[in-house]
Amino acid sequence: MSASLRDSAATFGLTEAEFDDVVERLGREPNTLEAGVFGALWSEHCGYKNSRPLLKRLPTTGPQVLQGPGENAGVVDIGDGWAVAFKMESHNHPSAVEPVQGAATGVGGILRDIFAMGARPVAVLDSLRFGELTEARNRYLLAGVVHGISLYGNAIGVPTVGGEIAFDPCYQENPLVNVMALGYLRHDELKRGTVGAVGNSLIYVGSKTGRDGLGGAVFASADLSTASDADRPAVQVGDPFMEKLLLEACLEAYARGLVAGVQDMGAAGLSSSVAEMAHRAGLGVDLDLAKVPRREEGMTALEVMLSESQERMLLTATPGRERELLQLLERWELDAHAIGVVRDHGRLRLFEGQRLLGDLPVAALNEPPSYTRVGAEAEETVALRKRSVEVPETSDPAGALLKLLESPTIASKEPVFRQYDHQVMTNTAVLPGRGDAAVLRVKGSHRGVAATVDCNARYVRAEPRLGAAHAVAEAARNLTCVGATPLGVTDNLNFGNPYLPEVYYQLEQAVEGLKEACLALGTPVTGGNVSLYNQYRSEDGYHAIDPTPTVGMVGVLPDVSRRADMALKRDGDVLLLVGDPAGTLGASEMLSRLHGVEAGAPPPLDLEREAAVQGVVRSLIQEGLCDTAHDVSEGGLAVALAEMAIAGGRALDLSLPGAPGTRDDAVLFGEGAARIVLALRGAGELARAEALCAEATVPCHRLGTAAGEEVRMRTVRGAFAVPLTALRAAYHRPLADALR
């Protein structure tokens, strides 16, 4: 029998070598239950087999870090005794198969990670990727994912305050749904996922356990294929009402001191939560599966251990207060049961009543093998970078600007965020679409918190290391543009199959890029998620997504009344560009959208310059001298200026500086890092801005003023004007049409 179990190692998600490793660490052959639990915990999704050695390279420490990687979420200090817990996680595979529930349960899962830290969730942001909207399937996926996020977030009453959505054919079969959540807590309210001490009782609370989501962790650790629709049962169904009760009950239980440790049941369900909580305490657990409430009959022990039924938490009761805890949970009309006891044997022993079904070493479960592979850059990536970016210069810059505003990646996301409740909890100080980052106040404090999610995957595809560094720089720039000082990063690494050398190369290089930029900008990584196997297998081979290391970042505003957004607020304000006058064309939205050309290297990134530019802008906003700022990203300067005009309902009269030998379209639509446009209300503010730039040896250029009904831009070689109404129409149309 044992020989045949090794033969079927793959059904547990283990290779034969990994199966042998299990046998060695166990000192015997595992039974089916044990092999299944090992398989789930050693899956890529739970065990980070291929990414762990790389992730260790990331900087994770800093004076602001209260909790780094390894817990349910990272926690950073924001001052005055307050802290922010934050984390991003992907729900890519489920959303590809069932977009509504896939996205909804993504929101539910990340919110549990936040309140497992003792924090009250206060905001959700999403980073979404789809194929082009010209295809009906992608519109279906977009509509479904947006609906899923909306139905869960709105019902539980946590505002969805921001995010990004980009479209590219590479996501045709593998849409990305990365959800970030953050929560507030006082420093002394921090909770951890631990079983505490010997004799403690483990309390299961929340939904009953069913067969839904069985094997989800293993499903998320394989390529999608045409057969994936048959995996639909691996997608769970979300119940935001249940989670709302769970959230309120947990927070009340913490406040009363009834909980010594807590963890949500996420990927690999009960298996991973018990194993991880025991491991962090260096202890063991005896678990009685007969006490786990079930919604279906005839479930096997393995099914109970691996179920990914949503809205379930595992609590360690404070010694002596188990009864009180159970009563409180009952009052919230929740199903709660003591299912286990903490022991000092370092084992996870699984019982059904008195019968011992499995006996697993906790350490081995949590220490899967890890693989360091040898990557190699794909030849086509080298060729892509070398490909010429020379395209004929447009004779119609006004038309080009309108076309870029119509690019779904750039276009207004208002039709999307209108479906999200972004104001519940009454903290939202900068609404979605209005600023480069979301800003939330902290009630009972003058402080504010800003959050953003960013990644330009076209840059990462062309040059993974540089592109990933760009993602960090842009996230920090976005926080800067609302007046926040960046504090920390949660990353979501979305890649293809790491067993392919070109994918492993992308992953390794991207981690290096994240590391460089996080070190330079002082934003340690406090946690995150890795989503591999985002690729599709069809008759003609593999199709991997562009490497997409999404960066979620949080920052603090010392005084939330001093904040900025992108909307022009007064006619007569002077527009000032901080940073270089022109961008570059490589890997730009302009080349792709206007010319259908994918070519060139991403813009260069000087991290010192980036920090200097951001420092200038942050100072101005935090001194209360500037309330309007917007970074220059996809589509370049002209698009950034048009967005400021559209957001504020005010037009512009501008003369854009050139540089010798620079094409007009590089000035208008070229992209580059470390560039921010400010609108300043008076001579004093302008003088201070220019003085700060000089001090920091950062170039700046006066562009003109906010005025009139038309956006007028003069360049070195020509001039054009577009009515504000035309800009607005172009900007608002694409997503509204797609979601109609």
Binding site: A155, G157, L245, E333, R418, Q419, Q423
Partner: protein, 235 residues
């Protein structure tokens, strides 16, 4: 003076209502759980927004059967002020305290945005700080906000002047675009005959500080408090 904010399982604007009354307007709030059979000594009742019981049967349908609703009914019958916001209005219609129903938005999408709202009468405690015809800006956030009622009742509501708010454009004009959720007669808020029970879709508690973009909601709540002070000056 104490304001009761009733919490149903799934209420999610309860804390926002508390913040608005306690921290912005200085009126103490007491939470009342949906299973409580008494409100205790309170001066006004707020049924907050949210997704009571997950909106699983129909918005407000299950909450209307909660034990606390008997107490709310008696409180209203005695003339006590009751404000139902969003899901709270849905609960009031399901409980029969206000006529009509809130149906699914015609777009079939949840809508979260600011709307303009015209004040149709200014002689109520809720609107005493406004003037008739004034245009307010308040946020909405709902799936089911399309006010619907039979023709006879609609006529009666109009004849009796029980329409308190209508969705309009910035200039106060009724247009199809401004009526974002397709409500009959663009109705965004309705009061009972006696004028002490108001149901409204927009969220006044979300518009109580400049940081939130509008303070029109604070004026509505302040009007209630003024009324209560006048009624019981010693409290």
């Amino acid at each position: 003076m104490t304001i009761a904010v009733v919490r149903f399982p799934g209420s999610n604007c309860d804390d926002d209502a508390r913040h608005a009354f306690e921290f912005v307007l200085g009126a103490p709030v007491r939470y009342v759980w949906h299973r409580d059979v008494s409100l205790g000594r309170v001066d006004a009742v707020v049924l907050p927004g949210g997704f009571s019981f997950g909106d699983y049967l129909r918005g407000g349908a299950l909450a209307a059967l909660s034990p606390v609703m008997e107490a709310v009914r008696s409180f209203a019958a005695a003339g006590g002020p009751v404000l139902g916001i969003c899901n709270g209005w849905q609960i009031l219609t399901e409980a029969g305290l206000l006529p009509g129903q809130l149906a699914r938005n015609p777009s079939l999408h949840f809508l979260c945005q600011d709307v303009h709202l015209r004040v149709e009468r200014d002689d109520l405690m809720f609107t005493r700080r406004f003037h008739k015809g004034q245009v307010l800006r308040l946020p909405i956030a709902h799936n089911e906000g399309r006010f619907y009622v039979d023709d006879g009742t609609l006529q009666q509501l109009e004849d009796e002047g029980r329409v308190v708010f209508r969705y309009v454009d910035e200039a106060g004009r009724q247009t199809p675009e401004a009526n974002v959720n397709g409500s009959l007669h663009a109705i965004g808020g309705v009061v009972n005959e006696r004028g002490n029970v108001l149901g409204m879709m927009p969220h006044p508690e979300r518009a109580v500080e400049p940081l939130l973009g509008s303070v029109d909601g604070a004026e509505l709540l302040r009007g209630m408090l003024e009324h209560l002070h006048e009624r019981a000056p010693s409290a």
